[in-house]
């Protein structure tokens, strides 16, 4: 039985659709990566699935319960750590987890035991009686995660759990998410980081402008893209001329910035000399060159016509599904 089922889910704010006709299914025990840029509809979807926001259309079930009609049963089954760690800076870490235990209906002694265990698990024992306002960003995220786990939820929602964290803290969160999943927890993780989705998720849903544009395992999605591309760093102002020179050698992908040319090639490394020669003949200096295998960003580009981590409108190629 799937842990999460979403059918044609919609949310409009006045006339504007933040989420439009989203369908997805998450099996029990998997990590589902919900990938998309800022404003794509990730958080709105999570807020509907966690009963914080009523949908204006469609339906969704979490842990077998309808998010509208059986909201309380949904809440009893889920753990939630939202985008900005929703912590009271005046509380101590221990107070917060004890409060969360009470909110989840755990008896006092069990709540105390769970708080002690979780503080140890997320390595916050030494800081447990300090006010949360004195914690670093990474510590706050770990505390937020611990609070979400206090009642051992079957489904855990993590909304951009590593946004703004340094690489070390990010890795710690990733390890903890992986560990939780190994213990059987289903994880619904939103992220705008490709690497995060690629490393953690069993299945990925890519959302843009409120609509799912691609879904599947990261490997399957990248396999759909097929060919690698050559990434060339060029002198400022030479992109247009370079696009003209390389246009016949492969498919031009939307430029990431004003100095980077991306050429999708069929034969991988074997096509590099052709591209270099073409640019040389056009009198364009190459500052650096790299052969890049397909990434989830390429999937995103293919489906939407712009990059995930930094939106740049396409000028030289149309989206595959446009």
């Amino acid at each position: 039985m799937p842990a999460i089922v979403v059918e044609q889910l919609e949310r409009a704010f006045d006339e504007v659709f933040a989420v439009r006709g989203v369908d997805l299914e998450v099996d029990e025990g998997e990590i589902y990566g919900f990938l998309g840029p800022n404003g794509a509809g990730k958080t709105t979807t999570v807020r509907m699935l966690t009963t914080l926001l009523l949908p204006t259309g469609g339906r969704a079930t979490v842990a077998g319960h309808d998010v509208v009609r059986e909201a309380r049963a949904v809440r009893a089954s889920i753990g939630v750590a939202l985008q900005e760690a929703a912590l009271d800076p005046l509380m101590t870490g221990r107070e917060l987890i004890r409060l969360q235990a009470t909110l989840q209906g755990l008896p006092g002694a069990e709540g105390k035991r769970r708080a002690d265990d979780l503080l140890e698990r997320v390595d916050l024992v030494a800081a447990a009686d300090r006010r949360v306002g004195t914690y670093s960003g990474g510590m706050q995220r770990r505390l937020d995660l611990a609070a979400a786990l206090v009642h051992e939820p079957r489904v855990l929602f993590l909304d951009e759990p590593t946004t703004g964290l340094d690489p070390v803290s990010r890795k710690t969160i990733w390890e903890e998410v992986r560990k939780l999943n190994d213990e059987g927890t289903t994880v619904f993780l939103t992220t705008q980081y490709l690497e995060e989705a690629d490393r953690l998720a069993d299945n990925v849903g890519i959302i843009d402008e409120g609509t799912i544009v691609a879904a599947g395992t990261p490997e399957a999605l990248k396999a759909q893209i097929g060919n690698p591309h050559i990434q060339l760093q060029l002198a400022e102002g030479s992109i247009a001329k370079a696009e003209e020179a390389c246009g016949q050698l492969g498919r031009l992908l939307p430029p990431r910035d004003a100095r980077t040319l991306l050429v999708e090639v069929e034969n991988g490394a074997a096509d590099i000399p052709k591209v270099v020669r073409a640019l040389d003949e056009a009198g364009i200096a190459i500052e650096s060159l790299e052969l890049v295998k397909p990434t989830l960003d390429d999937v995103f580009v293919a489906k939407t016509g712009h990059h995930l981590e930094k939106k740049v409108p396409t000028t030289s190629s149309a989206p595959a599904n446009a």
Binding site: M1, G64, A76, S77, R98, L99, R131, R154
Partner: protein
């Protein structure tokens, strides 16, 4: 159904009877109330209006306008301090209600209420928890001002029973006024908007019999004060301190408090629904 997908209550076989539910909800309200009190004591800007300002105003007014008791028509009291205690308590509880609203709005702004809304608890416990904290502050304020009065020579004419009546009235009024503060916080979600009501709180207080007897006011303030629900509460609190318990006065105070509770509840329910609708 797969055991892993059942709600926790079903998995561990918790008693879901009415008493058990009420006990669990009472624990939630107590925990949220305790947090609310801790929050106030740890945030000096919330605590200052509740105790410091009313105490200073009491000292200034008692020191500077003590001769008012000799004005013709001033109700019979032993001292101006004795008369002013009810006003100071009212000011304190009104500001406690306002501070409670500010704290709730801050919770909304920083997303803490999402943590509460995502928990399997009835939504009313969230508001009740906040109000329990405000009521506790009202209790603290009533004890504080009664103690100040006693230390500086005021007497409580109806003794311990009168003091208890004053404490109960002040505590329940704090909760009632807190309901209105909570409703405004839930509706606006903005701490600065709730904070902006601070001057209005003082206007409402000054247009009641909190600081000056109704009999000596001039129109139109006199007419407004006569019908201001707070005046009924003030007289209910003041009566046992300056003279004795008057059943009619007490009944009017209780009805006024119930009226404020009803208004606060109605506004809170409406505001809560709005917040859940707009997310």
């Amino acid at each position: 159904m797969d055991r892993h997908l059942l709600p926790r209550s079903e998995v561990v076989g918790l008693d879901v009877g009415l008493m058990s539910t009420l006990r669990t909800n009472a624990r939630v309200v107590r925990a949220l109330g305790a947090r609310s009190i801790r929050q106030t004591f740890r945030r000096p800007q919330l605590m200052a209006p509740i105790l410091v300002f009313p105490t200073l105003l009491l000292a200034i007014q008692t020191g500077g306008a003590g001769g008012a008791v000799n004005l013709p028509g001033f109700p019979p009291v032993h001292s101006f301090l004795q008369f002013m205690l009810a006003g100071a308590m009212m000011q304190s509880l009104m500001l406690a209600g306002n501070s409670g609203g500010i704290a709730l709005a801050v919770d909304i702004e920083m997303g803490f209420t999402d943590r509460l809304f995502a928990a399997p608890i009835p939504r009313y416990t969230i508001v009740l928890g906040r109000l329990a904290g405000t009521a506790a502050l009202g209790l603290f304020a009533s004890l504080w001002f009664l103690a100040i009065g006693l230390v500086f020579g005021a007497t409580i004419e109806s003794g311990v029973p009168g003091a208890l009546i004053a404490i109960v009235l002040v505590t329940s009024t704090a909760m009632a006024v807190g309901g209105i503060g909570a409703a405004i916080a839930l509706r606006t979600g903005s701490a600065s908007v709730v904070q902006g009501l601070f001057p209005l709180v003082l206007v409402v207080l000054f247009l009641s019999s909190a600081f000056f007897p109704n009999e000596l006011m001039i129109q139109p303030a006199k007419a407004i004060a006569e019908y201001n629900p707070l005046s009924f509460v003030v007289e209910g609190v003041r009566g046992p301190i300056v003279s004795g318990v008057d059943a009619a006065e007490l009944l009017e105070a209780v009805l006024a408090i119930l009226g404020i509770v009803a208004l606060g509840l109605a506004l809170s329910v409406r505001a809560l629904r709005h917040r859940l609708r707009v997310g």
